[in-house]
């Protein structure tokens, strides 16, 4: 009795993920090339092509660990979680968390944060540019309403905070960068990832600015966000920092 198509596809899928299935092997027409060797062409392609997709989305992770280590890491992740849909630039949201728990990467404690940065840059690149807040928009808001105003971050904009100097690690991992030693204990980093007209990039924020953006991300009003920023950095200057962030296009237009 032949397998129903749905069962055949489920068996094929399970075989690709490593579960041998006698009914499936029997269903494949055999000749001088055994069914298992024919099936392995597909298994190989699934893992290789998804590994290539992950390398494209997480280029800094790959640059740090090298292609061989990355291939093993990617294979482990793919075995753990296949894509749920066919747009490969949207595959890998769980990769940073997977890296954090990956035994063989335990001596690279910053690697998961690097993956978070790669993923944020990928998301920002694929986010629409959207309408940004302009200084003129704020002039239209009555002054007494400004303190209670909530401002959302622009599409794709996100704050990535790490206890490691992520910006330095990222810079020294770029193609063509001179090899340099980064002191992992040289301090924490707060990076604001942004979609620019033709690409995605990040800027480094001070502790006050980072607290300000984190508070806005959490939905706090301008007044509360400014308070959080002063708490994190008593030297925080609201007007200077706000003007800088506004010029960067960090905020979405008011709703």
């Amino acid at each position: 009795m032949p397998l129903a198509l749905r069962d055949l596809q489920a068996a094929f899928a399970a075989h690709i993920m490593g579960a041998d299935h006698a009914d499936l092997v029997a269903a494949v027409a055999g000749d001088t090339i055994p069914a298992a060797a024919r099936l392995s062409v597909y298994r190989h392609h699934v893992f290789e092509s998804l590994g290539t997709a992950l390398a494209a989305t997480f280029p800094t992770v790959q640059a740090l660990v090298g292609p061989d280590f990355f291939r093993g890491l990617a294979r482990a992740f793919i075995g753990h979680a296949l894509p749920a849909q066919p747009v490969l630039t949207e595959y890998g949201a769980d990769f940073p968390a997977f890296i954090a728990g990956y035994e063989s990467a335990r001596d690279l404690p910053y690697l998961a944060d690097v993956a978070r940065l790669d993923w944020a840059l990928n998301l920002a690149f694929h986010a629409g540019s959207g309408d940004r807040l302009q200084a003129a928009d704020l002039l239209a808001v009555p002054a007494e309403h400004l303190p209670s105003l909530s401002i959302a971050l622009a599409a794709g904009a996100v704050l990535i905070s790490s206890r490691y100097p992520l910006d330095r690690i990222w810079e020294t991992s770029q193609p063509g960068a001179a090899s340099e030693t980064v002191d992992l204990n040289s301090g924490a980093s707060n990076l604001l990832v942004l979609r620019r007209p033709d690409d995605a990039a990040f800027v480094s924020l001070g502790a006050g600015e980072a607290a300000f953006m984190a508070a806005l991300t959490a939905g706090m009003s301008l007044e509360w966000a400014a308070g959080a920023a002063f708490q994190a950095d008593p030297a925080f200057e609201l007007s200077t920092s706000f003007a800088r962030l506004l010029a960067l296009g960090a905020f979405a237009a008011l709703q």
Binding site: F12, V28, R38, V41, F125
Partner: protein, 283 residues
């Protein structure tokens, strides 16, 4: 239909094509690469004024017994509406099972049950897009013992029942025929020629499968001599169609793709003109 050859537009060439606007018949994009609001999609939109477009999907999984992914279908439909391409296509294969996407063109058994599944899914796709789509013959690395139809007979019946077009890939015929011990010229017999809307051409690699050579459709080299010969036979039998050069791994400079497309256009012209002269002599 005028003989015309185009190239698959890949991200490494996007800037050069935008800048140089090379003379080529048409451009093809992969639907799944153009579903987000990226600078790349904006660049593609700017090229629409100068080129005809083909939208080639790789992830609709038209052979899935589970049916189509509604969310993905809606995104592809929105892209097609936006780009208004001359052609839309995907493959005779499946890539989704149990909600997991395998990123490969996995093979179908050619049975009445599978035919009904593909006819239903293609019908749903054509309804969602409000237009005909073309279905491409896949490269196969295995066949199923329970298949009751040959691949070309399956495709012919799919065309008859769904009203879809055929995207004929001579490289895939060559690869499948080698791997499954078929004669590629026999494979062409009985295909519904008028349903063919487009040809694809690409290179393949030769790998080892337990000591036997197996051909892999990797789109990573020039079109092989054997495939050019088969392409000439295809054009002789079915006539000229828009023909695409695809290259997806180890992508070379743009000029290499353009040269391959020019070679395809030249071959079409030679075969069609020679065929015309044969017909004139016969009359």
């Amino acid at each position: 239909m005028n003989p015309v050859a185009g190239i698959g537009l890949r991200s490494p060439h996007l800037a050069a094509v935008g800048r140089e606007r090379p003379a080529t018949g048409f451009l093809e994009i992969h639907a799944e690469n153009c579903l987000a609001e990226t600078p790349a999609l904006q660049a593609v939109e700017r090229l629409r004024a100068d080129y005809a477009f083909s939208v080639h999907a790789v992830g609709l999984s038209l052979g899935s017994a589970d049916g189509l992914d509604t969310a993905h279908l809606a995104r592809v439909a929105a892209l097609v509406k936006r780009l208004e391409p001359a052609w839309v296509s995907d493959h005779l294969s499946w890539s989704v099972s149990g909600g997991r996407y395998f990123n490969d063109l996995l093979p179908l058994p050619y049975t009445e049950e599978a035919l009904e599944v593909v006819v239903r899914n293609v019908g749903r796709l054509q309804d969602a897009l409000g237009r005909q789509v073309s279905i491409e013959n896949p490269s196969c690395y295995l066949g199923f013992a329970d298949s009751t139809l040959s691949e070309p007979a399956f495709l012919s019946e799919l065309v008859r029942r769904s009203g879809c077009g055929l995207l004929l890939d001579p490289n895939n015929i060559f690869v499948t025929a080698h791997n499954l011990r078929l004669d590629p010229r026999d494979w062409l017999d009985g295909l519904p020629g008028p349903a063919i809307t487009e040809y694809h051409l690409a290179g393949h690699a030769t790998n080892d499968a337990d000591g036997e050579p197996i051909l892999i459709d990797d789109h990573g080299s020039k079109v092989s001599n054997g495939v050019w010969a088969l392409f000439a036979e295809v054009v002789k039998r079915f006539g000229a169609r828009p023909t695409l050069i695809e290259w997806d791994t180890d992508i070379p400079p743009l000029s290499v793709l353009l040269d391959e497309a020019a070679r395809a256009a030249g071959m079409i012209e030679t075969v069609v003109v020679a065929g015309g002269q044969d017909a004139a002599r016969a009359a």
